[in-house]
Amino acid sequence: MKKFFLLAISLFFLTGCNSYTELNQLGIVSLVGIDYQEENYHVYIYLVEPQEETTALTSYNAEGSSIEEAMHQLYLKSNKKMYLAHMDALVLSKEAIDEKLKEIVTYLLNQREIRNNFELMEVDSLNKLFEEKKGAQELIELVHTNENYMGTTQSITFEKFLENLLIDTNTTIPLLSFNKELKVEGLSLIHNFQTIDTLSTEETILLNLLENNLKESIYQEITIYESKTNLEFQKENNLFHIYLEVNQNPSSFSKELEKELRRLLIYYEEQDYDLIKLKQRRKENRLESNATQIKRNFTFDIHIAVRENNLERKK
């Protein structure tokens, strides 16, 4: 009897009815956009709403002096409980990054529901993007396709973004524009929670090449079939060994490419922006032991070996 009594009492506490939410009362957020204009946050969201046979995307937007206030305003407009655990992507405007990135990151870190594997992007006109109902999957696929088949951008998850910012305050974020249609524009370079520059799609290909992330691409009308880059750390120097397989003019392409790579590396070294995270990578390879050494500028050398693709040669 005593056991039954204890069990019966426990059951009242174990049902979980207290926090029960019907599925159709749950607004699953797939995409969030944050803009900052005239000292106000503009927050846009896409809710995935299950219909009878399909799912529909409904967009909402609101503004407020803080993200919390803007989110509160969104609640007033939506009849669903917003659920951020399935968020796939976060798009930010340049203004939001430049002025409020630290606050946005803090807000996201404090959200228990959010996971750190959603993707980040910068889009120039958020309102147009949400008016045109471009879903998170569409944006993610655009970035991934460009990254994998052209090397014109680099995708980044929130976790990687955070890690990069914490390591050396430098990170990149895919840059998209939406004038008439949605388009990849390269990368936005962020330093110390602010955008400092942008890389065009061609410059992003060079960056991917240096980081050994380039699978295939077309650079200055030359098709790159294969590429491989090894970075050799020497005591006072960084040596890039680049192997490429292209469709035509290997020797002239090699010279042109080396010139462009040098230009890119020298430019950002002069700007004191560690574009390919050399300092961190040297530290990981135990080449630097203290801060003074890390601050020192390094020289670099590039060795490029280009060969024509066999099929092209047969032609």
Partner: protein, 353 residues
């Protein structure tokens, strides 16, 4: 006839759980913030320090093997026991309040954010009320059963996180100064005296194979050290040192990353049950300590055992809602227990001589 002793394996699993309570009470971030990736060596060195400490206090177990810890204390310091006992009782009571508060915070933050933690703690305390009335054998059998569950959850974590791990993230190793590694090992070691204190209560004679007690303790110590090392190794290889230092509970963030073949995801709620076990057993043993202590010191309350237990549980449940503790409470309590155990061990040595 039913055996009324504790088996070697049950003793092993009990000590293992008491050692593993370091994860929720102190946590990996306390080591990585001192020594970054080299906290891995801090764990290894700290395990060695704990091993040496266990050798130092080994004679407490062998001294009057049929007596409980409090009987031994009374035997050694008959005059001082009137001062020592209230002090120890209060310390353990405050530790109970601290653990209850920490557990309710954990449940509220990670498992049931929409329910007030007080209501979640009520069924748990009802279970404790039922459980603590059982004989000691039942408690030890439960640790044995829960050990298999804990092991299963650990293996699930291990195989789930391996595809997400990048061992290069652990580089550069040995980049911190030896003093940081040593400091992290001390932080690790100084959180363990409570585990030894809770285990020491049980007289050696309660064990089925008394002669293998020390060997069993060493095995538990080794396995616990290895598990903690693997945990930190996998956290660092999946999050990297910067994110590990950013979060107060990096293990829970690592749980979120687990995915089995991109099909089975969001298993953190299931895996965090291992956390619940690590909160539950210290609570059980602390309550067991306190109730046994009261029964030993005041034999007249034997008949009112249930009422005393109920009042104690009620006090802890309600008290945990009102007390606030300093962040140094747990470490300072452990340091006090450390000195007390060393003093006890020395007293036994002198008495024998």
């Amino acid at each position: 006839m039913k055996k009324k002793t504790i088996t070697k394996f049950q003793y092993f699993t009990t000590f293992f759980f008491l050692l593993q309570m370091w994860i929720p009470f102190v946590g990996f971030h306390s080591l990585t913030r001192i020594a970054n990736q080299d906290a891995l060596f801090g764990i290894l060195l700290g395990t060695l320090e704990i091993f040496l400490f266990s050798l130092c206090i080994q004679n407490i177990d062998t001294y009057h093997p049929n007596k409980t810890l409090y009987q031994k204390i009374k035997d050694l310091y008959p005059k001082f026991s009137y001062v020592l006992f209230p002090f120890l009782f209060s310390l353990l009571l405050f530790l109970l309040l601290w653990i209850t508060q920490k557990m309710s915070l954990f449940l509220h933050s990670y498992l049931t954010p929409e329910i007030d933690a007080f209501w979640t703690m009520i069924p748990l305390f009802l279970i404790l009320f039922y459980f603590l009335q059982k004989p000691k054998e039942a408690i030890f059998q439960t640790t044995e059963l829960c050990f298999y569950l804990y092991l299963f959850l650990f293996l699930l974590f291990l195989f789930g996180i391996l595809p997400q791990s990048n061992f290069l993230r652990i580089k550069p190793l040995l980049s911190e100064s030896p003093s940081s590694i040593l400091q992290s090992s001390f932080v690790f070691f100084l959180s363990y005296p409570l585990s030894f204190f809770l285990l020491l209560y049980f007289p050696k004679n309660w064990l089925e194979k008394k002669e293998e007690q020390e060997k069993t303790k060493k095995k538990a110590l080794f396995l616990s050290g290895l598990t903690l090392f693997l945990y930190l190794f996998l956290i660092l290889s999946s999050l990297g040192i910067y994110l590990t230092n950013l979060y107060k509970n990096p293990l829970m963030i690592t749980y979120q990353k687990i995915s089995f073949l991109n099909i089975l995801e969001r298993v953190e709620t299931t895996l965090s049950f291992s956390y619940v076990l690590l909160y539950f057993f210290p609570l059980v043993f602390l309550f067991y300590h306190l109730t046994s202590f009261l029964k030993e010191q005041f034999p007249q309350i034997q008949k009112k055992e249930k009422t005393i237990l109920f009042l104690l549980l009620l006090f802890v449940l309600l008290g945990s809602q009102f007390f606030t503790f300093s962040s140094l409470f747990y470490s300072s309590s452990n340091i006090l227990i450390l000195f007390f155990l060393l003093f006890l061990s020395l007293s036994i040595r002198f008495k024998k001589n």
